[in-house]
């Protein structure tokens, strides 16, 4: 991994301050209620909770995909949730990476092209460097032979690893993963978890992973539990 080495001092990367999210105008539904949370560099956080408790909603708020009804989301200490759409998109592109339960790759693009998408959108590297980095990422996830395959030509585990590679493309500070192993067999799940562990320990990134699997959660550095939209631990 060509990311910066693990920093000696950990710093706050993402922070939720009394974040509440309600939806609906007539009868309002509260998805997330008064949540405080700090995610530091080099930290692997697992989010657990019953189905429908608001874990995904929390992740969308952390990832600036959704805007809180009240409270604030801070990225590297700076309030970010009230920024406009373009600024939030840029923060997502450069600092955050999403991995979902479903792989969410663009079906017409090869593994390599999918991984290059965020790099091209950010435009920091030239073509050759982007390509080199994408191939490195594929290799580091054991996918060197699949660079030119379309998502439809790969297994679920392979696709999920491509999705992780894509999330890592712009060297984000935080990876936000929503049940990334939900569709995978035990072997693939182990692979994904090993990748996450490696990222956290070796590159100082932070990972927030939503999961139902309490065994997986137990292997994180820290667990938080959501029930009915509130943080209970």
């Amino acid at each position: 991994m060509s990311a910066p080495g693990k920093p000696s001092v950990s710093r706050d990367l993402l922070e939720l301050r009394r974040v509440t999210k309600t939806i609906g105008d007539g009868v309002a539904t509260t998805l997330v209620k008064d949540i405080d949370l700090v995610v530091r560099s080099g930290e692997f956080v697992a989010v657990t909770g019953p189905s429908g408790s608001g874990k995904s909603s929390l992740l969308y708020l952390l990832g600036l995909l959704d805007v809180p009804t009240s409270g604030d989301v801070l990225v590297e200490g700076r309030p970010a949730s009230r920024l406009d759409e373009v600024a939030r998109a840029h923060l997502r592109l450069s600092l955050l990476g999403f991995v979902f339960q479903f792989h969410f790759l663009l079906p017409e693009f090869s593994a390599l092209s999918n991984i290059m998408l965020p790099m091209r959108a950010l435009g920091r590297l030239d073509d050759a460097a982007m390509r080199r980095r994408a191939l490195e990422l594929l290799a580091s996830l054991g996918l060197e032979d699949h660079a030119h395959k379309l998502p439809g030509q790969m297994s679920g585990g392979q696709r999920q690893r491509v999705a992780i590679a894509r999330a890592l493309a712009n060297e984000p500070l935080v990876i936000l993963a929503d049940e990334p192993t939900g569709n995978l067999d035990t072997h693939s799940s182990e692979q994904v978890l090993a990748i996450f562990r490696h990222l956290v320990d070796e590159t100082g990134r932070a990972i927030v992973m939503v999961t139902h699997d309490l065994d997986l959660a137990a292997r994180a550095d820290r667990q938080i539990r959501i029930v009915d939209g509130r943080r209970v631990t």
Binding site: E85, V86, A89, S94, F102, F104, L117, P118, A121, E179
Partner: protein, 411 residues
Amino acid sequence: MRLVLDIAVTHVLARVRQTLVGMFGVAMGVGFSVMMAALMEGSQRDFVTQLVDSLPHITISDERRHPPRQPAEDVYAAVQFSGLRTPVIRPGIRNPYAIMASVETWLQGAVAPSVATRAVIRYAGRDTAANVTGIDPRREVSVSKLASQIREGTLDSLYKSSNAVILGDKLAAKIGARVGNTIALVSGTGQILTCTVVALLHTGISQTDETQAYTLIKTAQILTGQTALVNAIRIRTTDILAARDVAARIEAQTGYKSVSWQEANEDLLSAFQVRNFIMYTVVGAILLVASFGTYNIISTITHEKTRDIAILKSLGFTERTVRSIFFVEAVIIGLAGTVLGWILGFVLCLMLGSVEFKSPFMDATTLPLYYSPSHYLMAAAVAMTASGIAGYLPARKAAGVHPVEIIRGAS
């Protein structure tokens, strides 16, 4: 931008059939528009050419647009005069040859004098009214196509006998005269002139062919009883569209009424404007219909691609970027369709142009077609605008979707 283009091209290429349908829709629209424009402008130009060729581009007459100031106005400061009598005899243009010489110094074209009068043709015991125009055949050839419209003789036949006359072919037929016959011209003042028919005139315009007679200037002057009379100067401009400006300049310079062919045919030209308006409306409608196809395709693609849109937005693509992807797709379809339509339009024109219309009364003719890059550009502009709008509307809608809703729905 290259990324946007790449994604757009990938989407479009992944839907060959839909894309082709959309492209053909635009191509049909552009092709038929080009063809129609070529036909319309071709027939219009053909008509104008015939019109303009048969007549001088500008006629300076001995009339004025406003009555001249009366001496009494100056002397008595009178407010108004009414009932002023116009003199019976036409005044003629003063110093016509001086005016001609001065106009010739700057004019791009040619100038010829003429004498217009009316007379009654007396032949075989019958009287028939006719417009008699005295011309200078040597100058006339450079201001009108008259020379090419003479049958059974030439314009120069007017020099053959002392009082020679050329009659419109229908006029000749009406009175029963033939070339070589002697007829009598009787003027309004009672002057009788015995003339020899030396040739016939066929312009194809019945009105003219039934009433027109040409003589030498001198002959017409004798007929009017006014020697040295010239009551019209006819001009042909090299650039026919300059006629209006040239006429205005001459009128300002001489004070004599100078009528350009445009002014003389104002009603006809405004009929063309109506025709063009109809044409543009039809062309616009064709292209609008074609753009519905594009709208449909882009809508379909955006619907199929909502998940991808959510992915791109979750990755950090802005709404603007997502919007431009689908907009560019419409532009690609529009552009490809336009180029195809250009080819189609050109081929249609070639095919139409090769169709011959045969008729026992005429030489075989082909449709008058006018080829102009502006037809192609106009069709392209309308097609591209329509495609752009057809793409923009669904693109804007697609880009506005909330990624969270899609991601929730998909997982």
